[in-house]
């Protein structure tokens, strides 16, 4: 091989590998989607996954949301008092949370807490031949194992993001009104007047749905596609969190530009 061409060859090869993986991930997703009717027929499978994917993440989300809201309260107060606009603290805190920090930080935390656990669980099931074993028992593991988990992630994310934003607003209120003496009525009324349902809340929910789909998709696919050894599963788990973080931040930019960039 000509040494000048070598870097291009390597680049081309890794591009092909990535494209193949993307193709596999898409086919996989189609396969997962065929499992949705089966989930509706067996709500208990979904409930169990909602518990381990969603409910077990609640405490993390509560604590993180509270602190993020409190920091927003502090930082917002210092900036806004310079302009004599501390009554707008409520809007600032709520808008930051509902539009951005709620969906984004929840998605990042969700990738670390639930996504990594999903990847490791599925990867280990593959490594211990539980998935193969299921296939040999004429049970489709994608429908039986993956689909309920994916669906649970999809449903949990918007709920967790809502909890995060709610607790965050309370944290901002506690710091702003409780500690720093911002007028309570102004905090509330400005927030209620300026936060728009379609513009802010619906867009925030759309974001969290998209992020939920992305994070869970990456998590279950990395687990299912992992090399079935202990090393392979640990790599897949790391990749799951890293890719999910990149994907969430990248898509956040795209979605924000589409949603808020028109006027």
């Amino acid at each position: 091989m000509n040494s000048v061409l070598k870097p291009f060859q390597i680049l081309g090869e890794s591009a092909l590998v990535s494209l193949r993986k993307l193709g596999r991930a898409n086919l996989f997703m189609l396969h997962v989607a065929t499992g949705f009717p089966g989930i509706l027929a067996r709500p208990r499978l979904l409930a169990a996954q909602m518990y381990s994917v969603g409910v077990l993440s609640v405490l993390l989300i509560l604590i993180s949301g509270l602190f993020v809201g409190m920091v927003l309260g502090l930082q917002g107060y210092y900036v806004l008092t310079d302009f004599g606009a501390e009554e707008s603290l409520g809007v600032m805190v709520a808008a930051s949370l509902v539009r951005e920090l709620g969906p984004v930080v929840t998605a990042l935390l969700f990738a670390g807490r639930a996504g990594s656990a999903l990847t490791a669980e599925i990867g280990l099931m593959k490594a211990t031949e539980q998935l193969s074993g299921m296939e040999m028992m004429a049970v489709d593991p994608v429908k039986r194992i993956i689909a309920p988990r994916f669906f649970a992630g999809l449903v949990s994310m918007p709920l967790l993001a809502a909890v995060f934003s709610l607790v965050g607003v309370l944290g901002g209120y506690f710091v702003g009104v409780g500690l720093l003496g911002v007028d309570e009525g102004a905090f509330r009324s400005q927030m209620q007047a300026k936060i728009d349902f379609d513009e802010d809340i619906v867009n925030g929910v759309i974001k969290s749905l998209v992020f939920g789909a992305i994070v869970t998709w990456i998590a279950v696919f990395e687990g299912y596609d992992s090399v079935p050894t202990s090393e392979g599963v640990s790599r897949a788990t790391t990749r799951s969190v890293v890719y999910a973080a990149f994907a969430v931040l990248g898509w956040d930019f795209v979605l924000t530009a589409l949603m808020f960039g028109k006027d």
């Binding site: 211990t128 539980q130 074993g133 040999m136 004429a138």
Partner: protein, 274 residues
């Protein structure tokens, strides 16, 4: 009681099967027959593709060429639904047992019934307890897989494999890593289940003596080929040096003890030369 591979009563018949992985030939046009109602052993060194062969029979892998017929149907021409229907009639025991780690012993054995039937709970319970009794683990029904020894996990997996009353069972290395007692238990179980339930069994193994003690017919595979076959006695009496080395577990023979290397003395002196 010599069985001829051309016997028409073969439950599984493999013809001209080739399979390669990452450009490496694992099987090179092999022919193989599994007679009905018998225990057939497939032996060969680690990494020859014994597990791969079972996955080809179960339709989890596709051959490059050749065919695998199970009970008269070509496994790799079936659609997914028909393949799944066929798999309900074939049990497979994975090397690790492959029990579902988040379900109890009872629920593991009940799993195929819950997935494939709408039997009432009382019926499921009777079936599960019957199969657990058959493997001697009725008392362990409430344990979780993590609480089982390796041998017990395999027996639970065996109970699960027979819960749908299949026509055949494939065992992947059932004896590996077992202490002598649980090895003896498993040998006995495979034998008794095969004859008691009228199954056809395929035992993949490199534990020569245990396997030969229950097998009706033995295939030896190595390097992608069937290198020997016959009843255990015939194989044991073979005069092929490779088969003798494998069956008797000799450290050196046609398969060398040493990984290919350069001359020992010059290798040792090589450091001084630098």
């Amino acid at each position: 009681m010599t069985f001829q591979p051309s016997d028409t009563t073969a439950l599984v018949s493999i013809r001209g099967l080739s399979f390669s992985r990452n450009g490496r030939m694992i099987f090179d046009k092999i022919d193989l027959d599994i007679p009905r109602g018998k225990i057939t052993a497939i032996m060969g060194p680690s990494g020859t593709g014994k597990t791969t062969l079972l996955k080809l029979i179960g339709g989890q892998l596709r051959p490059d060429s050749g065919s695998v017929r199970v009970d008269g149907t070509d496994v790799h021409r079936l659609g997914l639904d028909d393949l799944y229907a066929l798999r309900k009639r074939m049990g497979m025991l994975f090397q690790s047992g492959a029990l579902l780690t988040d379900l109890s012993v009872y629920e593991n054995v009940a799993f195929p019934l819950r997935e494939h039937t709408r039997l009432p709970e009382s019926m499921i319970r009777s079936l599960v307890l019957m199969k657990l009794e058959a493997v001697g683990l009725r008392g362990a029904r409430d344990l979780m897989p993590a609480q089982l020894s390796g041998g017990m996990a395999r027996r639970v997996a065996l109970a699960r494999a027979i819960v749908l009353d299949p026509m055949m069972i494939m065992y992947d290395e059932p004896f590996t890593g077992q202490d002598p007692i649980s090895m003896g238990v498993l040998v006995q179980l495979i034998h008794d289940l095969n004859h008691g339930l009228g199954l056809t069994s395929v035992v993949v193994s490199h534990d020569v003596h245990e396997t030969a003690s229950i097998a009706d017919y033995v295939y030896l595979i190595s390097g992608g080929k069937v290198v020997g076959q016959g009843t255990p006695d015939e194989v044991a009496r073979s005069d092929s040096p490779w088969i003798r080395q494998f069956m008797e577990g000799l450290p050196d023979g046609p398969v060398h003890f040493h990984y290919p290397s350069k001359d020992y003395a010059s290798d040792l002196l090589g450091f001084a030369a630098h």
